[in-house]
Subunit: 403 residues, 2 copies
């Protein structure tokens, strides 16, 4: 029953799900929430399943519950984006929105721009549509827009097809943590408009900010309806709800809605979210989330400085992750394996590079400070340091032997 | 921002969602549940969001909650199918499972076998992957397996590619209501095994049986792991939960799980379902569902006999729908439009034929007896009859004028 094409489709899908539960295992690998910050939604659910039962237990509109779309549009408006409810499509989390963008825009052989590195879960989704990746390097301010400019000019000169969309994470990039400054956002937009290439701004972490002022979103700067802003309640509220959204031009959203194979997303979880948000619970909850993860970040930053002085990184002002750069001779995949053996799960940096046909940096790992408690963060980094030293000492020994 | 390929992908997607709500509109068009039969799930949700909070508000395993997969495998086992929890993939409803099957198996230009007519929501999903439809006629016993045999033999002789899968609804076919007898199921299976073509048996209505004994499912007869059985809690419990499943061979299910762009399906609604089922509530609820829809069917059958004597149909022993055959000169799309104007929404039969490149029968409509109350069924059929007579009288007048 398996065919070549079946195998081809599956072969690039990495198994990057968290490792199986382990009594004593500490998880730095996943984007799970800290359990202590998961809200009590029993009241919202009670209401959703009694007063709103005829809504929450039937099929929902494909585009989402009208009240939720309205609420999201207002939420985005307070963040500077001029969108109406018609510009909002509710999805089963932001990853589902990435898939729908691909279904609407990408055919086999088309190309898509991503940063190097980029969000590892976006890679297999985009690849599964047969897209080729155009990787653009990053610095501490995010995507190198000048490099993108060069690439697009080159493609235009060569009369080669332009990419179908530019995938970016402008706020607290996953995995690097970088946030793109205003001038570069404007440059990216100008470039996208000039070449008429949609920009998919995947923004799950925007509200998980620990300090400093937010930079306007690409959507807030977007005069040409060329940006599709992806958001989610996964990081605001709870991943398990599977409620996210795409905000952008209505013709594209209408096509994405038609391509939702599940018809309407779950109206029960949508109603729970609406009830939570319209009751005014989101703003105080967001502060609690920020306070929690700021503590987690600070604890992990201190622990890595203390336990892993050879490792470099920039502490992010938001999000869930540290992107660690290892000394050049340390292989991130080996470290990931040894860390797992030492009882702490992390993700090898190689998972975050989209192109598999070129040599990629191997000396990175991503560690999440979101899920573990602060005690677990301390212990997890100690375990990671043990794994690191077992590897580094071996590398030094090998280097000495080689001399 | 729109391209040719964008337009192509979208052009075949019919807008077959229910018409907008209307104060006095009666809905015979949708597969919505009768509101009076929607269960009280507040206790299950309370439990799911308190005791199980760390599970229900985090990301879930891609394949589904282990307890739900186990429960589904036992449910299928009581129905004769020999599957373990490893053979079960939880999806966002059965339509999502159809999409995942296509993602795993279908490439542009591949062919897929469907009945003529077939489930209208499956058509745009399968078509969106670039598949060509091979339509097989039906009689009162469902798919004409002898015709399928001829087709597959012809393809083999011509050394042309075989279809990637056979899509069928063996129990209470949507829209025809036909249930395939045992001998024909066995013949279909034999054929599938001989040519090594997976059979996707979409079975949302199997438990919505009003009389008679169930025929063994294709999965129960399947010795070769060639059948993927699709089920859902949408018709058993509530569409809004968006919890369905695929049961089949583990290699295919593993690929489908990897292709789930939303990673794990919503753990909250999965846990609500598990709690409901393991508390023993499903069996009595199923009887209530059967009793309710049996009454609805009987009422609609009587009303159509009374109000629309020119129309022919076979009363189904289960499911949600009547498939009405109109006199040859009556156009189902025109009737659908006039019915809408008269305040009752139905679906034109032409929506259920997959091939748009050949002439298809136009004298059918599908009417659902599920959602409307029995009073609404009476009134809705009266409205449908008025719409019918306005059309039939016009058709007679036109015929007379033409003479």
């Amino acid at each position: 029953m398996q065919s070549l094409s079946f195998a081809r489709r599956a072969s690039h899908l990495s198994s990057t799900m968290p490792a199986p539960a382990h009594a004593d295992r500490i998880s730095f690998d996943s984007g799970h929430a800290f359990p202590g910050v998961l809200p009590d939604l029993t009241g919202e659910a009670e209401n959703a399943l009694s007063r709103f039962r005829p809504e929450t237990l039937q099929y929902a509109p494909r585009a989402g519950l009208p009240e939720l779309r309205q609420w999201i549009s207002e939420y985005l408006a307070t963040d500077g984006a001029h969108v109406s409810a018609d510009n909002v499509l509710v999805t089963n989390g932001a990853k589902h929105a990435i898939e729908l963008v691909c279904r609407a825009l990408v055919d086999e052989g088309d190309s898509v721009v991503v940063t190097s590195p980029t969000y590892f879960s976006a890679i297999p989704i985009i690849r599964s549509f047969g897209a080729q990746f155009l990787e653009i390097p990053q610095d501490h301010d995010g995507m190198d827009v000048a490099a993108l400019d060069d690439l697009l000019q080159q493609l235009s000169r060569d009369r080669r097809p332009l990419p179908r969309f530019i995938y970016n994470i402008s706020d607290f990039h996953n995995p690097t943590g970088a946030t793109m400054p205003l001038a570069r956002r404007q440059a990216l937009l100008d470039l996208a408009v000039r070449h008429r290439i949609p920009v998919i701004d995947d923004s799950p972490y925007r509200s998980v900010r620990f300090e400093g002022e937010p930079v306007p979103t690409l959507k807030a700067l977007d005069q040409d309806d060329i940006v599709v802003h992806l958001g989610t309640f996964s990081k605001l509220l709870a991943p398990g709800l599977r409620v996210g959204w795409a905000a952008g031009a209505t013709p594209l959203l209408a096509r994405m809605a038609q391509l939702k194979s599940d018809a309407g997303s779950c109206p029960l979880t949508q109603r729970v979210v609406v009830e939570f948000c319209t009751a005014g619970r989101l703003a105080p909850h967001t502060i609690r989330v920020q306070d929690t993860y700021r503590l987690h970040r600070d604890r992990m930053v201190a622990a890595v400085h203390r336990e892993l002085p050879d490792v470099t990184f920039r502490a992010p002002s938001g999000g869930y992750y540290l992107w660690l750069t290892l000394p050049a001779e340390i292989d991130g995949e080996e470290l990931t394996q040894r860390a797992g053996e030492a009882g702490v799960t992390i993700i090898a940096g190689t998972k975050f590079f989209a192109r598999s046909d070129i040599e990629q940096p191997r000396n990175h790992v991503r560690v999440a400070f979101s899920h573990a408690s602060i005690e677990e963060i301390d212990e997890g980094v100690r375990r990671l340091a043990r794994a690191y030293h077992s590897l580094a000492d071996g590398a030094v020994a090998t280097a000495k032997t080689a001399r």
